[in-house]
Amino acid sequence: MQRPCLVAVAAILSAAGCAGYGSAIPGDVGSAGNSGTAGNGPGTAGTTGSAGNGNTGTAGDTGAGNGSGTGNGSGTGTAGDSGAAGSSATGTGGSGPTVTPPKQALTPANKCTSNVPGPRKLWRLSGPEFAASIRTIFNDTANAAPIATVFNDPTNLGFAIDANALLVQELNASQLQDNAEAIAAWAASANKLQMFGNCSTLDSTCGTKFVQAFGRRAFRTTLAASDTRVAAYLKLFMAGSSYSDGAQAVISAMLQSPYFIYRTEMGTQSGGTFTLTPFEVATEIAYLLTGTSPDDTLLAAADNVAAGSLTLSSMVDQQAMRLLSTSSASNATALMGFMTGWLGLDRLYTTAHDDTVFTMSKSVRDDMAQETQSLLLEAFNNSGSLSSALTADHTFLNSELASFYGLPTTGLTTAFKSVSLAGSTVRDPGLLANGSILNGYARPDTSSPTQRGHMVRSRMLCQDVNPPPPNVDTTFHPSTMPETTRQHFENVHSKNACYTCHEYMDWIGFGFEAYDGWGRHRTTDNGLPVNSSVTVYSDPQGKDVSLAGLTGSNSLASYLGASDDVKRCMLRYWSYYAYGASSWAQDGCTYDSIYQEASSNSFGLKASLMAIIHAKNFTQRVMDQ
């Protein structure tokens, strides 16, 4: 099975063949799944079975791609025999188990039979988390620390967070060493050492204080004096030629340590499950809600749980609500870290446009990004849901963006404010009419019903569509006659086998045709009236009924806002983002509990996030395989 073209769903239009669209690579190495269909759209792929690990698995019909495993040997995939252990050779891959490659599609939830959580795991810090954590450790609000770009991680299902994809491999250790040493030297020169231990002598007392203080922040836990790691790092400290030298050695070492690089989610065993430690849970809360390591308040709360003066569940609720308070500056991180990946909002900056047709400034792009963030944050902070953002009767504008949209600028400045678009004939309100989405899913010179429809189908409805079959001409052939973009796409994609897939995409995407490839409103296209009627055909698996009679992004937004599929899809992707794994045994238990709690709170965005935090999987695990 081919890996489909991630690009340009809309850039591909053929007079004779099917248009291609984007999708992630199905996994390979070991067995891939059954006849899943490769997906499309950014980050989603076909529903393949579990990729086997071990290098001897056989790829399935679909979903073969590349895994990120290292070593060989027996794995826990659904197929694949145990490969022979490789020999360990200096400088090359050694022996050992292979890491199961990430799933390239959201597979159906595994049935819940005994209400168990997911498995324990190690979760390497993502590139942004790695950098943010270093800044947090040193209170580096000026962004002065010379943090190197160490990791080059693949995106999977729209996010670069999969715990099985984030590895330390090849030259990463060398890069980590270089980075750690540079940070240590900077910390000394920037007078940061006194933050830790408040002493400055080369002796074991000061050294222990330093190790414990720095270790608390770097390892995200309290290091008791009896912890063997304290003795190990004290030894490094005492080998220094001075306090500063010893401190730098400790900093350098700790920033290369697995206890810094990885978030451990291992817990302590009680019966058949493992309860994550207070510090592990504090770490989860911190990275999910703030994108960085726990602050002192969160660590202190974890101390209280460890001391027995606070329950774990109380810590979770108190600290989550503290960090998610309405005025919290980190709410943008908590929300947009997910939304950007789920909806592909960064495509606003990466989707190329033909400047010879129209040039849009980066400033306007930034405005569009701010518009979407403001709309989503408003819903988040006011107990609203995704539907609130989809069906809002307003948007957020500043004078520049209003002018770009052709809207009145009266009363607007450079600052953003809510602007009612109720009854507007110039622009639709709500999320789907945001420039960030319209620009991100477009061809360089026109709109793209295929891309926009595919985004809705795969990212919002979680209904994957097959990629173009092999050897089909996916070349884009521009129109040769006076016709609208819609007419052109209809004419080409109604023919031959193209329609069998494109009906699921284009006929949704036509609802956006009141906007060109730059998000500008239009009533005519190539001099002809725009037709933005929508038909949402039943899903590719035929579980739903088709829906016709919608027109424009407003009615499409109402449909999607009310759709249970969209709610479940959002929760599923958010769970992936929060847990770093898209599937595990009986994961249906987790998804069901999240859905139930979110439902009881009208699927409010903040409530949905809290539902993920309240799920058993957030604080308990089973033994990993």
Binding site: C5, I25, P42, G83, G94, Y349, P470, D624
Partner: protein
């Protein structure tokens, strides 16, 4: 050609290199083989292209009379290049993301005991087994190779894992050449500290492993293997003599930003110099430079007339109306970069043989993820091979050579192995290929 004395070498490199001062490096004796052998390989990897616009337009036998617009820049080094196309992969219908390109295996091709190892990794492992243990086993560079859900599918580790590239030029530079020796310490003291730290970290990883299942252990095994590679680098000796110079220290990534991200083309220009110097300093014998990934490369190439656009979505899939004019321009740009690397290598002497340049002792291979990127298939994979005129591996012609073959493309990968003196291909490529099909393509080697 730049030729530096031993003193100049030490002055320009020694202060900045914190490698152990020991030790005899095993040097490979020149084999008395029938084929001329290279000492290093450089893989230049990019997306598939539009075949009809790539093929030279004037060919007589193997002679290239008229180059296509895409390949015209290669004519500057025509006496050193061999163009090959027509070779199907083992999975001709594979498209994006298939690892056929450098492994000989693709999506649907997995049998018992098959490891998806790319030729660069296979060669790197063989070098170590032969006692050629350079500080860096293989140097995989390339900016923005993870964008948009794409991955560095070109490179498959010796145990089947997919290997990322280093995208940041500064990070690549520091990884290859090391940072400056901090004041107040000696190279020996720093090395001792580094070893102590690595011992501490390894002990921690081993402790963590003890309570984990197989999958999680695998993560730490990869980490420990990465540390082993670092230890190898720290413990390796630098060659004496030769023309080893570091390139200028790159600026921070922030100085290479374009449209909110790292400028891939600009970064890769810097990577070219890093690779050339890494070869000149014999820090590695295997290097790869990757342009984008199987899905995307945002192209910012000032001076080419190209718009800022995605190679695949823009130039390839949306290029028909202009007969792929932008794709042609970009392919010509890539060809220019390929030639640029050749010129860089020509500018350094071989660290072991001052009578030769690096280019004479390097085999370059331009490989792609697909054959036809527009149609998404691998029915005709194409390569550009290059080597120097003074004892280079390739059989060349004054006007350039063009070969069309219907043999499996893996055979060219076996040529790469042959060039490095490797004659046993067990554990590489398609195990289903046997006999003649599992040998290098004839008429390639000199």
């Amino acid at each position: 050609m730049r030729r530096f004395s031993r003193r100049q070498f030490a002055g320009s490199v020694g202060a900045g290199l914190l490698l152990a001062p020991f030790i005899n490096m095993a040097t490979r004796k020149e084999a008395q083989a029938a084929t001329k052998q290279a000492k290093r390989i450089l893989l230049f990897c990019s997306m598939g292209t539009k075949p009809s616009l790539w093929t030279p337009t004037g060919i007589s036998g193997e002679t290239i009379n008229t180059w296509s617009a895409m390949t015209q820049p290669l004519s500057a080094v025509k006496a050193n290049v061999v163009l090959v196309e027509g070779m199907p992969s083992g999975n001709p219908n594979d498209g994006h993301g298939a690892s056929d390109s450098l492994t000989g295996q693709g999506f649907g091709y997995y049998g018992q005991g098959v490891i998806k190892t790319s030729v660069d990794q296979f060669v790197a492992k063989k070098l170590v087994a032969a006692g050629i243990n350079r500080p860096i086993g293989s140097l995989l560079l390339g900016a923005n190779t993870s964008d948009n859900g794409g991955i560095s599918q070109f490179y498959g580790g010796a145990n089947g894992g997919n290997l990322p590239t280093i995208g940041s030029p500064l990070s690549a530079f520091n990884t290859v050449f090391g940072g400056a020796l901090p004041s107040g310490t000696s190279a020996a003291a720093l090395l001792a500290r580094r070893k102590s730290i690595l011992d501490t970290i390894k002990a921690e990883a081993t402790t963590l492993k003890g309570s984990l299942g197989a999958n999680e252990k695998g993560k730490l095994d990869a980490h420990l293997d990465s540390i082993r590679q670092l230890e190898n680098k720290l413990g390796a000796a630098m060659p004496a003599g030769g023309a080893c110079t570091k390139p200028t220290t790159p600026g921070a990534d922030s100085s290479l930003q374009y449209m909110g991200g790292l400028d891939g083309c600009a970064a890769n220009v810097i990577h070219q110099s890093i690779i050339a110097s890494a070869f000149a300093c014999d820090i590695t014998r295997v290097a790869c430079l990757q342009y984008g990934n199987d899905q995307k490369l945002m192209v910012n190439a000032p001076g080419t007339g190209l718009p800022y656009d995605d190679q695949h979505g823009g130039f390839i899939h949306s290029g028909a109306s202009s007969n792929f004019a932008n794709l042609v321009k970009f392919e010509a740009y890539l060809a220019t970069q390929f030639v640029n690397i050749i010129n860089l290598l020509k500018g350094f002497q071989d660290p072991e043989d001052s009578s030769k340049t690096l280019f004479d002792t390097t085999l370059m291979l331009w490989a792609r993820d697909m054959g036809d990127a527009d149609q998404h298939n691998q029915q005709s994979m194409r390569f550009v091979l290059a080597s120097g005129s003074n004892g280079g591996y390739l059989k060349t012609a004054a006007g350039g050579r063009y070969i069309k073959s219907t043999e499996r493309h893996e055979r060219i990968l076996l040529n790469v192995c042959e060039a490095m003196g490797i004659t046993s291909y067990a554990g590489f490529g398609d195990p289903g290929l046997t006999g003649t099909a599992k040998t290098p393509l004839p008429n390639i080697a000199a």
